[in-house]
Structures are given as structure tokens and as C-alpha cells.
Amino acid sequence: MSSILPPAQRVWWNQPVDRIEITWVLVALAWCLFMFFMMPLWHIYGRQNLTNESYRISPTAYAAKSKEMVDKYTVRTETEQKIPVVHPPVGSDIYLVARLWAWEPLLELEKDKTYRLHLSSMDYQHGFSLQPINVNFQVVPGYEMVVTLTPDKAGEYTIVCNEYCGIGHHTMLGKIYVVDKKG
């Protein structure tokens, strides 16, 4: 009897299971169940979860919503390209556009305040990767995902694109500035 030969006992399923095997199977099963329940538990007690909120939307309709926000709340522009920096009201809906090859507009948010960040793409798929805290979302054209977020530290954060989107992929950066109003 060997693993490359048919089992020597025809009725192999009656062969008693080795003690070491049953020990390990039970321990491993307990660990697997623990890992399984961690996920729903984190939805209840953890503070880093995705919502189920997302919508179908056409790129033009999404761009229009974003433009409306930019027109209302732009506080300054940056770089030679005059990229707008938007300071939206606390708690409001923010429409971030991903396109070849930019994240627009740049955002200025307040520390410890909660916002509803909307994400959608105008063209290909993109990856929202917030550095240096390293939080990542997939951005898909035709879909609008809503993420509520609460920045807890002031500073400059960079959005790197981490879904390959063509030759200029490596130039696709955006910014979120978190400002401390009290300080």
C-alpha cells in the first residue's frame, strides 16, 4: 500500500483515523471557525469596514456631480495644471474622479470629521491606494462606491493608482490634505 497504489484494504473508509490526524483536524477546524467569525465580529466592533453602498452610474453623470462640488467648494489650485483643491463641508458627499491619469480634485478634509467619499472611474479601472496608511479600494467605471471615512491624523496623504491603467499609470497621483481646525 502506497499513495500511488490503490488502497490495500478495499474498505479503506473503515480504517481508524490516526490519533495525530484527528487532533490536528479538530485544532485546525477550531482555528478556521475562529477566523470565520472574526469577520462578522469586526463588522460589529471594528472601525474599518466597507459599506454595502454602491450604485450604477454613467461616467458623464458622475463627472457632473463632481464638477458641481468642485465649483462650489474649491479653495485654491495647485501645480501648473491648476488642479483644484476642494474643502467640502464636514459630513458632506465628496465625489472623487479617477481618470487617465489623475485623481481629481485634490481634497482638504478636517481631522476627526466624517465624510462620505464617492469613487468612480471615467474610463478604465483604477486603484485607490491611500499612502502612507496603505488603504486600498478598487475603482470601477460605471459604478459608484461610497466609503465613509474619518481621518484621525493631520497631514498630507497621497492617492497612488495601484490598478494598471496604461502607459501613464505611474504618474496618476492625488492628494488628501487633512487639516486640524482646532490647532
Binding site: 490519533r19 478556521c32 474599518q48 486600498n136 505611474h170
Partner: protein, 568 residues
């Protein structure tokens, strides 16, 4: 039409080879190694470009090389070799003639044509869309067409395998149940059929879209179904390379399964649950509910992870029992110390087992946890993980099996035996460091599939921490060492097949009427070895070490996640 019933009994191993099956195994293995060679050359371009101090290729060539590297390694090399394994596990292990060799050749031809078509499309330069080819980024229609042809060819191979199982049963070429290794191969075959069906469902419409017959492919639907191809195809590899581990344990040590029931149940769990794993890739996508994510990403409560943890115990456990029965029964680890570490068939398989479990397994489960995925998705951690599973796990296991097949199937003595002794260590250890530092760079936020971590030419800038640059430098260096290790493998195998000393092959003729035990002596029961009623205590210690590391790493990641901004 006469059926070819010409067999030979291999004088070294005692295995029975059916002539048409033997030729098919050789052809598929050789085609696989050719793809490995191409993919390995491309790996040099990819790795030297991601090494920040070298930054070799321009952006377009980098993405082109990366697309072809993914396709040639993850799909073409591995599936060709798996076809050889399917024919070996059915025809050879069941001592049966192969069903419909002509259809098997048709499948092989389709796979070759498909592989060349896709590679040419990438070479043309208008299909640098990565292996995943996410819509709506378009590729040349031939890119998809080649993949479809390759998949249809592989599907024919799966049917030949299943047909051979039927023939072997009909013609009573074996007694009782099929061997465990064949059972594992059957698992791989069933998952392969599911995988290829998913591939057809998504790639055929995408092909029609690329030639203008369909106006729109929904990108979210594409991702959801594509990953039923993309991840499940890696589950074929898992089933296949675990079958190879069991086979090598049997070949080198005459090992028997600790119990047939447990090992077969574990394979059955793969069939039932592994397919759900495609959810791992779309955890941070819009449109899926938390319930869906949790159920699917956990493979329904991690029952497929359980299966891998079981194999991770029973494979070394069966080796330990076999070694103890041979007299290496002292202490916890004499069986392991006295194992044939100079035999690349064993050393490669054991490094594959350890690397797959400790590096690939742990990182895979951790990053596939619904919320932890937030801090890992699409960073270079992901290729770090799958180089541990697919390169150390699958590729190294297949390399080890090849060292066994060269004398047995190709009837040649290995050339450069000293180099062959070192090759699994060179390749396995460099790939392990490579995977680890890649995961490290990923936790620092370095993106995968990214030409320039310095963002040259971007209107805005970002500076990764210096450690990330250091780690990416080590990625480059270890990749070069691993490519040297891979080149050594190709040199040894191709050199042996062409120039190795010919070995006696045994004469072709009708099969021996009565099946004989081809391998080591029959071993019955293992109640009298081991310590305190545990037949494989050393393996149990290794298993608990694994579990302790797993738990610690899992906890660290939750702790890190808890420290980032609040979401949701």
C-alpha cells in the same frame, strides 16, 4: 481501428507506461519547460525594472513583459505540465491504456497554437493588458482567442483523463479504489473543468467585444467571473502539486497515506469549496455585500483552508511514519535529519511544502480576510503571496517530479548531478526571500504592476519610505538568483534529455497481466512507531509551530488594521 495496447515496464521504478501516453507526457512536459524558459527570461526584465537602482526597461516594454510573464508562467507552463501529470496519474498509475490519444494530441495542438497566438499578440505590443485583461482596457482580439484555444485544448486533456479513468475501471486494470495520488489528480481535473467553463463564459464574450460584435462588457461582471477562472486555476495547481507531494512521498520513501479517509476527505473539501475563492480578488470592489464577501472569501467557513492544513500535516506525517518504520525512530526529528536531502526529488518537494504552507498559505489567508484586504489589495504584497504559492509551491514541486521523470520517463541519466542537488535550494531559498521582501514592500504600500515607484514625471509627487526602496532592491537581487536557479533547472533537464546517458527502457509489448506492486514493499499499519501513541510526533510539532506563527501573523495584521483611519 486497432487500439494501441503497447506498454513497457520501466526497469527502474516498475511503473507501467502506455506508449501513446508516454509520448504525450513527454510532449506536454517539454512544452511546459519551453514556456518556463520564456517566462523566466521575461522575469529578468520585470525584476530588473522593479529594482529601483537598475530600472531597466521603459514603461511600455515593462508592462508588455509583465503581461507575457504572467501568462507564460501562471497559465502556460503550469497547465502544460499538469496535462502531463493527468496522463501520468491516470494511464501510468492505473496501469491502463490512455483513452483516445488522438483527441489528446488535438488538445495538445490547440494548446500550442493558443499559447503562440496569445504570445504573438502580446509581442505585437497592443495587448499589454496584464494577465487579468480587465475590461474596458482593450487587447488585440488574438490575445483572447489564444487563451480560448489554449483552454479548449486543456479541456480536451481533462476529458481524456476522465475517459482513461472509465477505461481503467471497465478493463479492471486495478483492484478496489483508485490510488490517493490519482484521486488528487481527479480533484485537479474537476476544478479545471469548472475553471475552464468560467473562462469560456467570460473570455468568449470579451473576444466578441474586442472584434466589435458586443458593445459593452460590464467591468464588475468581468471581474467576478474572470476570477472564477483566475483564482480557480491556481486551485488546480494546489490540488495537482499536493498530489505530486503525495506521489513523491510514495516514490522516495514508499510512504502510505496516514489514513486514506482523511486525505481523500481533504481533497473532497477542495472540490466543494475552493471555487468560492475568487471572491478574494473583489473584496474592495463596489457592488458586493458584506455577507457575500464573508461567505465566499472564507470558502464557506475556511473549509478549504482546513483541507490544506490537513494535507500540510498528512504529507510530512506519512513521510515521518515511513522513515520511522525504516528505523529512523529516535526523538522527534531523526526521520527528518536522515531524509535524503541530497536528492532533489525530495529536497525540492519538501521546500515546496514548507514554502507553500508557511509563506504562501499564511499570507493568503490573512490577505483574503475581508477587512484585512483593505490594507493589502493590489499592493506588491499580492505577487509576494502568489510567488510563494505558485513558484515555491507548484513550480518547485513540478521541478522535483521532473527530476524523477527524467530517468523514468525520458530514460536518461541526469547530467550535472551536483548542480541538480543544489538547484532546489538555490531556487527555493531565493524565491522564499523574494516573496517575503515583496510582502514587506507591499505592507509599506508599494503598488503591484507599477513601472516607477518614484513617480517620475507626475505633476504631484510621493516619496515611499527608504525601507521600501531597500526591500525592492532585495526583490531585484533575489529575483536574479531565482532566475539563475530556474536556468539551472532548464539546463539540467534539457541537457539530460538531449545529452544524458541513455538508460535501459524495458521492452515494449503487451502489459504484464497481473498488476504487481511497482514501488516499495507494502507497509501495513503504523501503530508501533512514534512517541506516546502518536505515530508522527515530529510532524505534529511542526504543525503546531506553523499554527503559532499563523495566529501571531493574523493578530498582527488585525492590530495594524485597527490603527488606520476609520472607514464604513
Amino acid at each position: 481501428m486497432a487500439i494501441n495496447r503497447i506498454f513497457r515496464t520501466d526497469p527502474i521504478s516498475g511503473l507501467l507506461f502506455h506508449q501513446p501516453a508516454e509520448t504525450l507526457m513527454k510532449a506536454n512536459a517539454v512544452a511546459g519547460v519551453v514556456a518556463l524558459l520564456v517566462g523566466g527570461l521575461l522575469a529578468i526584465v520585470v525584476a530588473l525594472t522593479r529594482w529601483p537602482a537598475v530600472h531597466l526597461a521603459p514603461a511600455d516594454s515593462f508592462y508588455q513583459a509583465l503581461t507575457a510573464h504572467g501568462i507564460d508562467m501562471l497559465i502556460i507552463w503550469i497547465i502544460f505540465f499538469e496535462m502531463a501529470i493527468l496522463y501520468f496519474c491516470s494511464s501510468t498509475l492505473l496501469r491502463s491504456r490512455l483513452a483516445t490519444p488522438r483527441i489528446a494530441w488535438l488538445g495538445f495542438a490547440l494548446m500550442v497554437i493558443g499559447a503562440i497566438t496569445t504570445n504573438l499578440a502580446i509581442l505585437k505590443g497592443d495587448s499589454s493588458v496584464m494577465m487579468t485583461s480587465y475590461v474596458p482596457m482593450p487587447a488585440n482580439p488574438n490575445f483572447y482567442l489564444g487563451l480560448i484555444l489554449f483552454a479548449v485544448g486543456a479541456l480536451l486533456g481533462c476529458f481524456v483523463f476522465l475517459g482513461t479513468l472509465v477505461i481503467a475501471k471497465e478493463e479492471r486494470t486495478y483492484e478496489g479504489s483508485i490510488p490517493l495520488v490519482t484521486f488528487g489528480a481527479t480533484t485537479a481535473c474537476i476544478i479545471a473543468i469548472f475553471t475552464i467553463a468560467s473562462g469560456a463564459i467570460i473570455l468568449i464574450p470579451t473576444y466578441l467585444w474586442s472584434i466589435g460584435l458586443i458593445s459593452n462588457i460590464d467591468p464588475l461582471m468581468y471581474r467576478t467571473i474572470w476570477w472564477a477562472l483566475g483564482h480557480s486555476s491556481q486551485q488546480i495547481n494546489v490540488s495537482a502539486h499536493i498530489a505530486v507531494w503525495y506521489a513523491i512521498a510514495a516514490i522516495v520513501f514508499g510512504a502510505t497515506p496516514m489514513s486514506e479517509k482523511v486525505s481523500r476527505m481533504a481533497f473532497l473539501l477542495y472540490i466543494l469549496f475552493l471555487q468560492l475563492a475568487s471572491a478574494h480578488h473583489i473584496l474592495v470592489d463596489p457592488g458586493h455585500t458584506a455577507e457575500w464577501r464573508i461567505f465566499n472569501t472564507s470558502y464557506a467557513m475556511y473549509l478549504a483552508v482546513l483541507a490544506s492544513m490537513v494535507h500540510g500535516l498528512t504529507v510530512p506525517g506519512s513521510i515521518e511514519v515511513a522513515q520511522r518504520l525504516k528505523g529512523f525512530n529516535k526523538g522527534l526529528f531523526e526521520w527528518l535529519r536522515k531524509a535524503p536531502w541530497g536528492n532533489p526529488v525530495f529536497s525540492g518537494m519538501f521546500i515546496s511544502l514548507i514554502g507553500f504552507g508557511f509563506l504562501g498559505g499564511i499570507s493568503g489567508v490573512v490577505m483574503g480576510t475581508e477587512q484585512i484586504n483593505l490594507i493589502i489589495h493590489n499592493t506588491i504584497y499580492v505577487p509576494g503571496h502568489f510567488h510563494a504559492t505558485v513558484v515555491i509551491g507548484t513550480t518547485l514541486a513540478f521541478m522535483s517530479l521532473t527530476y524523477f521523470l527524467i530517468p523514468v520517463l525520458f530514460k536518461r541519466e541526469l547530467i550535472l548531478p551536483r548542480l541538480a542537488q543544489w538547484q532546489p535550494y538555490l531556487f527555493g531559498i531565493s524565491m522564499s526571500v523574494f516573496s517575503l521582501v515583496m510582502m514587506g514592500a507591499g505592507t509599506l504600500g508599494v503598488a503591484r504592476r507599477h513601472w516607477d515607484m518614484a513617480f517620475t514625471g507626475a505633476p504631484l509627487g510621493y516619496e515611499y519610505p527608504a525601507t521600501a526602496y531597500l526591500l525592492m532592491g532585495v526583490v531585484g537581487i533575489t529575483a536574479v538568483v531565482a532566475v539563475v536557479g530556474g536556468a539551472a533547472f532548464i539546463l539540467i533537464t534539457v541537457g539530460s534529455i538531449l545529452f544524458g546517458k541513455r538508460l535501459p527502457q524495458g521492452s515494449y509489448g503487451a502489459p504484464a497481466p497481473a498488476p504487481q506492486a511497482p514501488m516499495a514493499v507494502a507497509i501495513e499499519g503504523h501503530g508501533h512507531v512514534g512517541i506516546k501513541g502518536f505515530s508522527a510526533p515530529g510532524t505534529l510539532v511542526l504543525a503546531f509551530t506553523f499554527l503559532a506563527l499563523f495566529m501571531a501573523y493574523y493578530a498582527i495584521n488585525w492590530k495594524y488594521l485597527a490603527s488606520v483611519w476609520h472607514f464604513g
